[in-house]
């Protein structure tokens, strides 16, 4: 392809972009019924399947995260019935409070770490049974019915977000079924998302406002607006996983 051809192609692409952009705006305008705003979180009807119209994610402002606080961890544990069994070495941790200290400067960052809900999740790539999967709305889950507990996904995850349940469990909550020999991790409070709560247990519990839950696909959502204005980093962005959890202040 010579130089002129390239120019021509670029022109066509520009034209396409303009046209598509314009028609998308028109479509959005048409879809709006009087009094209905696009950015409100609407509860999905129970019988409707989730779709890729939404991409759920979190924005975490590490500058507000306080040292020694574990409100989000406690809230997550309560929400999903995670109880202490044999201590942190083997107990499931869906959120961990991570403290990073630069020894040279003494600068310290506190932040919650959980499943990053990647667009291209390595845990899904390696799963031999198809138990590890990504829902169309971007939430990465384990189908424990078909998980064989091989732990490949735990090895593949660059964020060490996943846990294997080592013990026989009792008194699991109806909203969070968990069992021995299966892998689990943060579900982005999928039961709350499906219920239309529009938030997660950790985001609710954080009184400092570190964690914001929202729809990354909705340009009018608070999370998208803040990302557009203030920006947000992916952890290990070089892996190209396009994570659903973004961090500020790193």
């Amino acid at each position: 392809m010579d130089h002129n051809d390239m120019k021509e192609t670029n022109k066509i692409d520009q034209y396409r972009r303009k046209f598509l952009g314009g028609s998308a705006v028109a479509a959005a305008g048409l879809a709006l019924a009087p009094g209905v705003f696009l950015h409100t979180v609407q509860a999905k009807p129970d019988d409707e399947a989730v779709s890729n119209k939404n991409r759920w994610g979190l924005l975490i402002d590490t500058t507000k995260c306080a040292e020694g606080c574990s409100d989000c961890v406690t809230a997550c544990n309560n929400e999903h019935g995670l109880r202490e069994i044999h201590g942190p070495a083997t107990d499931s941790q869906w959120i961990r409070h991570v403290t990073l200290k630069n020894k040279q400067t003494g600068h310290q960052i506190d932040m919650p770490m959980m499943c990053q809900h990647c667009e291209k999740p390595p845990c899904v790539d390696v799963c031999p049974t198809g138990a590890s999967f990504k829902r169309t709305d971007g939430i990465v889950l384990v189908d424990k019915h078909i998980c064989i507990g091989c732990r490949y996904c735990m090895m593949a995850c660059p964020y060490k977000a996943r846990n294997l349940v080592h013990e026989v469990l009792t008194d699991q909550l109806p909203t969070a079924p968990r069992g021995k020999g299966t892998v689990e991790s943060c579900t982005l409070c999928v039961h709350k998302v499906d219920r239309g709560d529009g938030t997660t247990a950790c985001a609710e519990a954080c009184t400092a406002g570190v964690i914001l839950f929202g729809d990354l696909n909705d340009k009018n959502s608070e999370i998208s607006q803040r990302l557009a204005k203030e920006g947000g980093q992916q952890l290990r962005a070089e892996l190209g996983l396009n994570t659903g959890v973004r961090y500020q202040g790193l």
């Binding site: 999905k44 129970d46 019988d47 409707e48 399947a49 989730v50 306080a66 020694g68 606080c69 574990s70 409100d71 961890v73 406690t74 809230a75 544990n77 309560n78 929400e79 999903h80 019935g81 995670l82 109880r83 202490e84 999967f133 829902r135 709305d137 889950l141 189908d143 424990k144 019915h145 026989v168 469990l169 008194d171 699991q172 909550l173 109806p174 909203t175 079924p177 968990r178 069992g179 021995k180 299966t182 999928v190 039961h191 998302v193 499906d194 219920r195 247990a201 609710e204 519990a205 954080c206 009184t207 400092a208």
Partner: protein, 165 residues
């Protein structure tokens, strides 16, 4: 008493006992019993989501279908949902307690039949075998904690090092 009389007496006794038994069975107003005579907790509500015979034969198929719909597509209708089965069928017995699936001589709705049919019941190794209302307070997730914090009933950061019950 000759042999014939003895036989007659035994037959009469047997008939008498059998008729008592059947009268007792027809007038029995205690707990529900399934086809094999196991006591089954009385469910809430008037009728099941499908006819009883259909449910006896096909409940596992309905649950399997619904399981995949819920897990992968986020469809959480009440029809054929395991949580709803439990909400209706796991009811307190005569002693006021909800029988648990894995306890000895369980009177749980699911386990009575599964025990007599010798079919292993895996669901409840992960899923709750009783409605969430019957959990003790410490086991139920705290409601909106942010609102509690705003009201001043909990202070931020007090949760540090607190062990989860």
């Amino acid at each position: 008493m000759n042999t014939r009389q003895i036989i007659r007496l035994l037959t009469a006794t047997a008939i008498l006992l059998w008729s008592f038994n059947s009268i007792a069975a027809s007038q029995y107003t205690g707990p529900n019993r399934d086809a094999n005579g196991n006591i089954v907790p009385t469910p809430k509500g008037e009728k099941c989501v499908e006819p009883t015979a259909d449910m006896r034969a096909n409940h596992m198929k309905y649950l399997l279908h619904k399981r995949d719909k819920t897990m992968h597509e986020g469809i959480r209708t009440k029809q054929h949902s395991l949580v709803q089965c439990i909400n209706c069928h796991a009811t307190p017995g005569a002693d006021g307690k909800i029988s648990r699936v894995f306890e000895e001589d369980s009177q749980h709705f699911c386990s009575t039949c599964h025990a007599s049919a010798s079919v292993k019941l895996d669901c409840f190794e992960c899923h709750a075998d009783r409605p969430v209302e019957s959990f003790s307070q410490s086991q139920i997730p705290a409601p909106n904690r942010r609102s509690e914090a705003v009201n001043g009933s909990i202070k931020p950061h007090v949760a540090y090092n607190r062990k989860v019950q």
